[in-house]
């Protein structure tokens, strides 16, 4: 089955047992489908909450606290889809960015080295960064995601 067929059946819960196993195998190989399924689950969870659940004030407070904590953790650790190379790069960046810049050129060398790590990694590997390197332009990725490409 093609990606589109898998996704269509997955959304409509029409995968039979054999197809479900096939799809799970497919997900191990196909990053695009994994990304789709993860986002679909997030949307579905939001819809479920909207229609079936009214949280108590206490629970709402706990959820907000959890979200804040998660955002802080996300900022601190990883941006985007993690991969082995991405994690390695994150550690690499974190180490060198916090290194005191005794020699000015040294820091630039490391910026280039970070780029080279990415160029050598698996195609499609996501750039990751340490806490101090969140870009104030990352909303541009949101624009790309919400703009219908037609």
């Amino acid at each position: 089955m093609k990606c589109e067929e898998f996704r269509e059946k997955f959304i409509h819960e029409e995968l039979n047992e054999l197809e479900r196993v096939e799809f799970e195998e497919h997900l191990k190989k196909c990053e695009s489908c994994r990304f789709f399924v993860n986002n679909y689950k997030k949307v579905k969870d939001s819809l479920k909450l909207l229609y079936t659940f009214k949280p108590s004030d206490e629970l709402e407070e706990n959820i907000l606290y959890g979200i804040k904590k998660r955002i802080m953790l996300k900022k601190a650790l990883i941006f985007g889809v993690p991969g082995i190379a991405a994690v390695a790069m994150s550690a690499f960046l974190a180490f060198y960015i916090v290194t005191p810049a005794g020699k000015q050129d040294f820091a630039y060398d490391k910026a280039v080295s970070a780029g080279i790590s990415l160029l050598n990694s698996q195609p499609g590997t996501t750039l990751t960064y340490a806490k101090t390197t969140k870009s104030n332009l990352d909303y541009l990725l949101n624009i790309k995601y919400v703009s219908d490409q037609f």
Binding site: I97, G115, T128, Y139, L140, Y145, D148
Partner: protein
Amino acid sequence: MRSFLFIVVSSLLVTYAFGSVVTDFITSYASQSIDAQRVVVEESQSPKIRYERVLRCGKNEVIDVIAPDPFEWALLDGKSYIINNDEMKLSPATIVDIEQRFVQILSATSTVISSTSVVYQGESSYEITALTRNATYIAVIGKQPMLLKYLKVKRSDGTISMIYTSISIVPPDYFNNFIKGLKIDSATPETMERVAWKIISNIKNASIASMDINGVTLTIIAGMFLPQENFISYLFNSNSNISPQFLVNQFKSQGYNSLSIKYENVYVVFATKVKIDDLRVWIKKVFNDQ
């Protein structure tokens, strides 16, 4: 001859009916004020799924993307804005809402349109099909009131489906008061934003980060600009004390292809394993003449 005349007359009547439905819908759409929720699913090489709240007054709207990642934007008098807390600033790129595109398509004289009566979710509705050179639009619109409830757009490279899960008609003041509560910044987006957008909008798997090195901020954008080819770029202000040539030489000394360009007051250093000529062609396409 008689049957031929019958077909011609019937076609004219049917066309008039179609035209009437479409005209009524376009007129109604321009005066509607709604607070609604919808799910948008895009099936393409880069599949997307979003759950959004829509606050719309005519063709002006505020879209609050609830999931997967919260993000709020607005379309006011044809201009796209980004909303952040109580501030609204001009977007460096036009944000396209497929629903608004559909209404434009309906108004275009070259669009081939047909319409039938259907029952959608238990309610008497119209199904409108619009054909353009590149796409087929299929929409379900309620009869009373004429609210868009479902839209599917098919193209050779994918489909977009948009399903409204709830729609409430609200007074126009509801929207106007919301907008009045926002501080509007209509300043032109900075060059750095515009350059970053040019790159991001032309690559796959885009990611962005920044590095502060000795007081200088580098914006780093990575992604794939050809199938299966990674690519990285460094953006910084031309008045900073970084030499773009220094970065280019560093990449070259490691066996990579690299070059730099200056776009207004921003330097961009590119590096990749792809042939330098392919990189030049891509840059020319993205930056037009550089």
